[in-house]
Amino acid sequence: MTVQAGDDIPRPGLDDRERELAPAVITSWRLSAALGWILPSVVALVLGFVFGGSWGWLVVVLLAGLVTFSVVFYPPMRYRRWRWQLTELAIELRYGVLVRTQETVPYFRIQQIDIAAGPVDRLLELASLQVTSASASGSAVLPGIAAADAPRVRAELLARAAAAVAEHPGDLRDAV
């Protein structure tokens, strides 16, 4: 178990209200979308002009539309849909523009918490926090919270996990 005892960990005291991600995450998403489009664009342009002849211009127009959408318009939409919350029992995530997703990982089931920050995230002072349960597919990722907040969130989660485990008699503490 990741957590030994609940008392040793200072509780930062995050309350139960709904939270948003850090606004800087929009920039981070824009950058990664732009970077992600470079290679496909080059390939599509080359293919379009070599094989498509005059159709090449259509490829350019389509490509420009797609890139504009995914870099300019999509990230703010995605941001507006993102909410996370530390409820009484679980960490809950609600997100998704087209596919709305609600993910719930109860504190009692938390096995591991990772904080990660890539180079772009570090420039923007962001971090992502991943909460993993014993299941292979059931994990929750907060993609962009302020780097300064991440340890606080983690401490809070650990404290709540420890408290949830401590509530149970010995033979039930094992979450698997």
Binding site: R100, T101, P106, P169, G170, L172, V176
Partner: protein
């Protein structure tokens, strides 16, 4: 502390299958909470594993990881293919010699020990590896006896934890069989002790003959045979059919040559050529032979693998044994059971049978190793479920999903069909070389896919259902092969609800309940929005606080005790106090 009643001097050969219900709750001091002394209580009756020991020397040969050996040999083999034979032989021999030395060193440097709480494995020649595995983390223990291993009285033991991703956490190949069994009992004993349910005395000793405990299920040989005939193991079919085709080709070839020659001769002689076809009877015999062979192969493989399949319950563990030539014997603690899947493909559905797959969180036992009951009459499924899941009578009542789900099912099935039809009709116009007679002949037939897929969509919709009780959650889906998954609610780790744009318009939600283990997931596809929200909330509550709810029990939150008492005698609430008194 060694005053614990049951674990005095090792009682020599275990007195026959003792499965004393009445001693279950005679907890010694160890049962009171503190884990007992590491050694005294865990010492397997005959053997002591506290000192690091090596595997059996035969593991130099029998312990070779096959994949690794193939990898090591494939490069030199391919590289020297062009070289003269003696060079190839020399290189291969050199590699074999080096490999042999490595294996011997590996055997010398690989030790394991078990002190009652931690299983330790140290290995590695140049870089040493020390692995310690806490006994409370162990999900599943499997003893595997290959055909060759059985000849020499050897066995391999595999230990799975929830974390092991692709390979077993600990894989000890090979040990003397008695050692493997003793090690497993030692693990089981200390697991039982940690769970606070010390069965005083000799908790039904592991018995290689497989007589201990209570038999929960035995699959008769005719069912194993039927399972191989109706199962995916008939995938051997293509290989055999290929062989048959070659046979047929060999039959036809000479005839064609002969026919052409004769035509030429006749043509030269100025007569009308007549063609004599190949012997059709021979062709038919060949095809029939191929079919019979493939079925026979499937049956042989299936019978060797699953023959003598039986499940016993020993204390709180399921012992699943199977195999004729090489045997597997897996132990899954009942409380580690994560998910039960009942699968019925169309052939088995027609005949009234199902297969049942039992998943623990053990990671690596993919496909082959997963505990699967090969075949079971549908009417026996409920009984098996009540054995596997405490206090559960069978598949819970399932509720059908709203009619809007039918539209989604139709969409799911018709979209790929429509895409295929469009591709077959449009692509030949664009891409020249696809414009062949074959494609043109196929084009009209592709429209047949539409009605077929529509029927499948309706079938799938009618099978969609889910249900939940305070103890388990269940979901059913599938069109050709219908699968019902059942998970104890206390095993749900996390939840995901998804609503795509179309699902939102139709008021539907897809709910995923994640349980431990690779790919272990219970999917409630396209449930009504409110139903799904309610289920999400209910399961979150259970996952956050996994206290087993046992309706009949009166004496408070008995925890694990509640889960295990009286599921067989039907008077669970009563049996416990009686046993204690």
């Amino acid at each position: 502390m060694p005053s614990e009643p049951g674990t005095q001097p090792p009682p020599p050969p275990p007195p026959s299958p003792s499965y004393p219900r009445d001693t279950r709750d005679r907890r010694g001091p160890a049962g009171a909470g503190t884990p007992g002394p590491p050694d005294a209580s865990a010492a397997a009756p005959q053997r002591d594993f506290t000192e690091p020991r090596r595997l059996h020397p035969a593991s130099v040969v029998l312990g070779i990881p096959v994949a690794q050996a193939v990898q090591a040999l494939i490069f030199p083999f391919v590289a020297t293919l062009a070289a003269p034979a003696w060079l190839t032989l020399f290189v291969l021999l050199t590699f074999a010699a080096v490999g042999g030395v490595v294996r011997v060193l590996d055997w010398r440097m690989r030790t394991f020990s078990f002190d009652g709480e931690v299983l330790r494995v140290d290995h590695g020649v140049l870089s040493r590896n020390h692995r310690s595995l806490d006994v409370s983390r162990i999900q599943q223990v499997e003893i595997h006896r290959g055909a060759i291993q059985r000849l020499f009285g050897l066995a391999a033991i595999r230990v799975e934890t929830a974390g092991s991703a692709s390979e077993p956490e600990v894989d000890l190949r090979v040990l003397p069989e008695a050692d493997a069994v003793a090690l497993r009992s030692a693990v089981r004993l200390s697991q039982a002790r940690l769970a606070g349910r010390t069965t005083a005395g000799t908790p039904s000793e592991d018995d290689p003959s497989g007589a201990a405990g209570r038999e929960v299920l035995r699959v008769p040989m005719r069912h194993v045979v039927l399972a191989s005939v109706t199962g995916a193991r008939l995938l051997v079919l293509p290989a055999v059919l290929g062989g048959a085709l070659q046979f047929i080709g060999n039959q036809i070839g000479p005839f064609i040559d002969e026919a052409i020659e004769r035509m030429i001769e006749l043509g030269l002689a100025g007569e009308t050529p007549t063609v004599v076809g190949p012997d059709l009877r021979l062709l038919a015999i060949g095809a029939a032979l191929g079919l019979v062979l493939s079925v026979a192969a499937a049956v042989v493989v299936g019978v060797l693998r699953d023959g003598n399949f039986h499940i016993r319950q020993v204390d709180e563990d399921l012992h699943v044994s199977r195999g004729l030539l090489s045997t597997r014997d897996s132990v899954v603690p009942l409380r580690r059971l994560q998910l039960v899947e009942i699968k019925r493909n169309w052939a088995r559905r027609v005949l009234g049978y199902a297969t049942v797959r039992i998943r623990s969180a053990g990671g690596s036992t993919g496909g082959e190793g997963r505990v699967t009951v090969p075949l079971l009459p549908t009417e026996d499924v409920d009984r098996l479920l009540s054995e596997l899941l405490p206090n559960v009578d069978g598949v819970p009542d399932l509720h059908a999903h709203p009619p809007a789900a039918l539209r989604r099912a139709l969409f799911r099935w018709l979209r790929p069909a429509a895409l295929l039809i469009a591709a077959v009709h449009l692509l030949p116009e664009v891409i020249g070389f696809l414009d062949t007679d074959l494609v043109a002949t196929l084009q009209p037939y592709t429209f047949l896919l539409l009605p077929i897929n529509a029927v499948l969509a309706v079938i799938e919709y009618r099978q969609l259902a889910h249900g939940a009780t305070p103890l388990v959650v269940a979901a059913r889906s599938g069109a050709l092969s219908i699968s019902t998954s059942i998970a104890p609610v206390v095993k749900v780790q996390a939840l995901t609800s998804r609503r795509s744009f179309f699902q939102r318009r139709l008021g539907l939600t897809t709910l995923l309940a994640h349980v431990a283990g690779p790919g272990a997931l219970l999917t409630v596809l396209d449930a009504g929005r409110d139903d799904a929200a309610r289920l999400h909330a209910q399961l979150t509550e259970h996952a956050a606080s996994p206290i087993p709810v046992v309706p009949e029990r009166a004496d408070g939150p008995g925890g694990e005790a509640g889960g295990r008492s009286g599921r067989h005698d039907g008077s669970g609430a009563g049996s416990q106090p009686a046993a204690a008194g």
